[in-house]
């Protein structure tokens, strides 16, 4: 009996290591929809198993720092890729800028707070949310936008909640728990948000538009699938999926 259990344990141990993924992808949590679709296609095409970790850009960066295995990195803004490059975690010539990330103001359907622009975030009668400036890319960008427009001092004490992930912002707006949030334009096209929120464009002169890059990590350098995946998500075929989920390709500039 004891022998059998031991054998079973050994078997389970070996079986589990045989199921390890062929490719590990770290992706910004806000890119989940297009990434899921592209990964499913990629798996089918190459018969490979892809594991994905979705997290805030800051979290992904921290996991790389801890030496977690990751072959391809796609954070919410280019800054993180370039910071990782500085630390020697990224293969430089593998960096591709894929799509634009455009901040917008999301309000619940019908705009119950009568929000008209960035300055309303300083109005104490309006409940507002932004991402935690230290964690998701959208939080950092939102703070930059308010600072750049001289609003941060007034907006900062008036924010009701700093969400640790961008998906939480989406939930709060869709569920009408806040009157306004700064969020990525592409997120608002998600089916969750459909029919539940309106989008206010930020004046392009006041806005800060980011790009989403993909890159192979130095850990993934030897993995042929990493290069293939990196190329696939920035290919024409990949861009069509990005577009479907509301992202604007960089090359259209």
């Amino acid at each position: 009996m004891f022998k059998k259990i031991t054998m079973l344990l050994v078997l389970v141990f070996f079986a589990s290591s045989a199921f390890a993924a062929d490719l590990m992808v770290f992706s910004g949590a806000g890119l989940m929809k297009p990434m899921d679709e592209m990964i499913a296609n990629f798996e089918k095409k190459h018969g490979a198993q892809v594991d994905t970790h979705y997290g805030s850009s800051g979290e992904l960066f921290g996991m790389l720092k801890m030496g977690q295995k990751c072959d391809v990195l796609i954070p919410g803004a280019a800054k993180y890729t370039y910071d990782a490059l500085k630390n020697g975690w990224i293969v430089e010539d593998s960096i591709h800028k894929i799509v634009k990330h455009v901040p917008v103001i999301a309000v619940p359907k019908g705009n119950p707070g009568n929000v008209s622009g960035l300055k309303d975030f300083a109005n104490p009668d309006i409940s507002t949310a932004i991402g935690d400036p230290k964690s998701p890319a959208i939080g950092r960008v939102a703070r930059k936008i308010f600072k750049q427009n001289g609003l941060w001092e007034k907006v900062h004490p008036n924010i009701d909640v700093y969400a640790p992930t961008v998906n939480q912002l989406l939930v709060y707006v869709a569920m009408e728990q806040v009157d306004a949030a700064v969020i990525w334009a592409d997120l608002t096209t998600w089916s969750e948000g459909r029919g539940k929120m309106d989008v206010l464009r930020i004046d392009p002169e006041k806005n800060i538009i980011k790009t989403i890059p993909t890159a192979v990590t130095s850990y993934g350098r030897e993995n042929p699938l990493a290069k293939k995946f990196n190329a696939y998500i920035s290919s024409k075929e990949g861009l069509a999926i990005w577009k479907k989920w509301g992202f604007e390709p960089c090359s259209a500039e």
Partner: protein
Amino acid sequence: MFRRIDFFRGGVIAVSVGVTAILLMAIGSFLIVPSWGAVWENMHSSELLFSLRLSLWTAAVSSLLVMLLALPIGYALSRFSFRGKAVVKTIMDLPVAFPELVLGLCLLLLFGKTPFGKFLQQSGLNFVFTQKGVVAAQFFTALPYAIRIMKSSFDFINPRIEFVSRSLGYSQWETFLNVTLPLTKSGITAAGVISFARCIGTFGTILILAGGSAGKTDTLPIHLYLNISYGNMDMAVTSGIILIIVSFMAIFIFEKTEADL
């Protein structure tokens, strides 16, 4: 015959010791990772002290509220049969199996834009994105555990002792206060300690209902999560160590009371 029993005995003990060893190694590896200088420094940082204070006072308030309600509910479930008792029991037990995130979403919806939520907000009880929300989140997460412990410790008290008290002319309330409560002292301690530990450890419910904003609603587990997401591992590990210490103390006291969960 004897060999077989030995195999059985050896097997179950080996499994227990093996799993304990893995857990110990997991906790141990947490203590190897950080640089202790940084941890010591972080212990004194204002952010961590804020989170610690917030965790302690919210957990104290919520576990007090939990106990105030777990006592009557546990007693009712243990002693009386009434219409809908099965429903009450099931619903009260539900949050034990509920993922905390789901519970958080449910509470957010209830306290947010429903007429009930608006009524509460007008009466000064705004639970959405506030420290009051932290207390509410902890309360609903810990309540079912406390009710279970209280019910089973009331179950252990022989109702005959209460009958004797009643037959001597004491009212139900006097009997509860002077006979039942003192007999269940260790149950109350156990339920209180487990509630407190559960409140300290509440994460998902707080994250959704209270928002998890740094410097406002970040209790220790949220503080840990935020610092993982900032890539600040030393700080994350520091909050983790404090959480481990609190859990150890709670379980130590709980074991002393020898109550059943």
